[in-house]
Amino acid sequence: MLWYTIRRLATTVPTLVAVLTVIFIIIRIAPGDPAIAVLGDNATQQSIEAMRERLGLNQPLGAQYWSFLSSALTGDLGKSLVSGRSVLGEVLAVLPHTLDLTFASILVGIVLGLPIGILAAVYRNGAIDYIARILSLLGLSFPAFYTAILLILAFAIHHPWFPVMSNPKLGDPVDRLYNLVLPAFSLGLIMVAYVARTARSSMIAALGGDFIRTARAKGAPARIVVLRHGLRNAIIPVITVIGLYLGLLIGNSVITEIVFNRPGLGKLIVGALEQRDYTMLQGLMVIYAFFIVLTNLLTDLAYGLSDPRVKYQ
C-alpha cells in the first residue's frame, strides 16, 4: 500500500502543474487587455499601466508563468483586486460553509439513497423498484436551482420553518445546522439519486452471489442476509460513486449558494466575476482544481485500500 500511495502521489504533482498551466492559459487567452477588463473602458492610460504592473502583465510571458506557478504551489494566491485582502484568506474564511454544505449533502445522499437502493434491489422488478427507479431518474434531472427554489417555497415561505437566506454563524453549531438543512437537501437530492441507482445495481449483483445462497441455505433471516452479507459487498461501488460525483457537488454548490444567498466558494466566484476581480478568479480556479485533484487522489487511495488488486496494477 505504501508503494502504491507513493506512486499515486508522484502522479499527482505533474497533474497539478498541468492543471495550473491550463488555468494560466485560459486566463491569458482572454480577448483584450485584462487591465482594461478590470478597470473598464474609460480608464486612463496611466491607471491601465499601473494595473498592468500590479498584475505582473508587463513581464515576459515565461516569467509570468513561472511566477504564477511558484506562487500557486506555495499557497500564495495573491491579493483580491477589490478588497485588497489575501485571496487565500478570503477563501479560508468561507471554506467551512462550502465544506459544511458538501458533506451534509453527501450525508443526505447516503441516508436516503442507500435504503432506497437496497429496497429497490430486494423487490427487484416490483412496484417499489419501479417507483424508486423513476424517482431516482427524476432526482438526477432536477436542476440545482429548481430544487432550491421549490424547497424555499415549501419550507421557508409557505411553512416558514427554515430561513429563506442561509447565513450561518460559524461559532454557533445549532445555527449552523439550522441554516444547513434546506441547502443540504437541495444539493443532496442529486446524490440521493446517484447513491440509490448505484446501490440498487450493486445490491442486485451481490444478492445473486453464491455466498448469499449459502447464507440463505443455512437459514439466516432475510434481513441479515440483505444487510450483513449483501450490503457489505455492495457498498464499495457506492463509495466510488460518491468520490466520482464529489466534483459535481462542488460545481453545483455554486448554484445552491447563490439561491440561498449562502456564503461560500460559489458566491465568492460569482462575486469575482461580477466585479472583474481577476486575481480572485484565478485563485479560486486554483482552489477548485486543487480540490478535485485531491478528491481524485483520496478516491484512488480509498479504492486501493478496499480492493487489494488495484495496488498491483
Binding site: T15, V19, I27, G247, I269, Y288
Partner: protein
Amino acid sequence: MSAVETTRHGPGAFTRAVTEIVHAFNTNKTSWVGLVIFLAICVLALLAPVIAPYDPIKQHIADALQPPSQKYWLGTDAFGRDVWSRILWGGRISLLVSVASISIAMVIGSTLGIVAGYKGGWIDQIIMRAMDVLLSFPTLVMGLLVVAVLGANLTNLIIAIALTVIPKFARIARAPTVAVKELDYIEACRALGYSDTRIMAVHILPNVIGEVLVLASLWTATAVRIEAYLSFIGLGVKPPTPTWGGMIRQGFEYILDAPWMCIYTGLAVLVLVFSLNLLGDGLRDAVDPKLRNE
C-alpha cells in the same frame, strides 16, 4: 459494454451497429417515453414563432406580474411579458446550445479517444493526460471560467460546454478501442494494407458508437442544465433574449409575489432534462448486453 464479445466489423458494420441499437431500443418502453417527450419539446420550440401567443420580448407594463389566467396561461413577468411564450422561445436557446455543444464534443472527443486508443504509446499518453487535466475542473466551474474569459454569447456558451465534455467522450471511446484493436480482424485489416484512418473509421467506430450515443444523450441533459445555470448566473445569452436560466433568475427576485415565473420555467428545464435522461437510460440498457436482460 464488453466490446470484445460484441465486435462489429466488415462491410456494413456501422449500419448493423445502429440497427442493433435501434432494435434493442424498441424493446424498452421508458426510452420511447423519453424520446417522445424530447421530440415534443423540440417541435414546440421550433414552432415558437407560430404557436407562441405573444411576442417574447415586447413589454406590456400594464400587465406586469399577472398570475396564470386564460389570457396569459402561465402568467406574466415583471415587464408584462407572457411566460409561456418566453418558455417556448427560451427552449430554442436551450436546445441549440445543448445539442450543438454535445455534437461538437462528441465528434472531437470520440475522435481523440479512438486515435489515443488505436495509436497507443506517446500519442495516447499526451491525449489522455490532457483529457485528465480538463477533467480536473467541475464542469460548471470550467464553463463559468471559459464564458467569463471569452465573453457571454451564444457561440462562447457552446464552446465552453463542448470543452468541458470533450474529455468524457475521449475516455468512453478509448476503452473499447483498446480492446478491439488487439483482435485478429484488425490485424487482418493492417495486413491487407488498409490505412489507419480507414481502420478507425470503418472497423473500430462501429464498436464505439453505442456507448458514445448513450453518453451523448445523457450529456445533452447535463448541457441543458449547465446552459441554464450559466444564464442564471448572468453568463448566458444576454437579455432581452429569453433563456430559461435568465427567466428563473428574474423570477427568483419576485418569488414572493409571482412564484409562477420560477415554477413553470424550472419545470420546463426539468421535463427536458428528464426526457433526455430517460432516453439515455434506455439507450444504455439497449447498448449494454449485460443490462439488456436485467
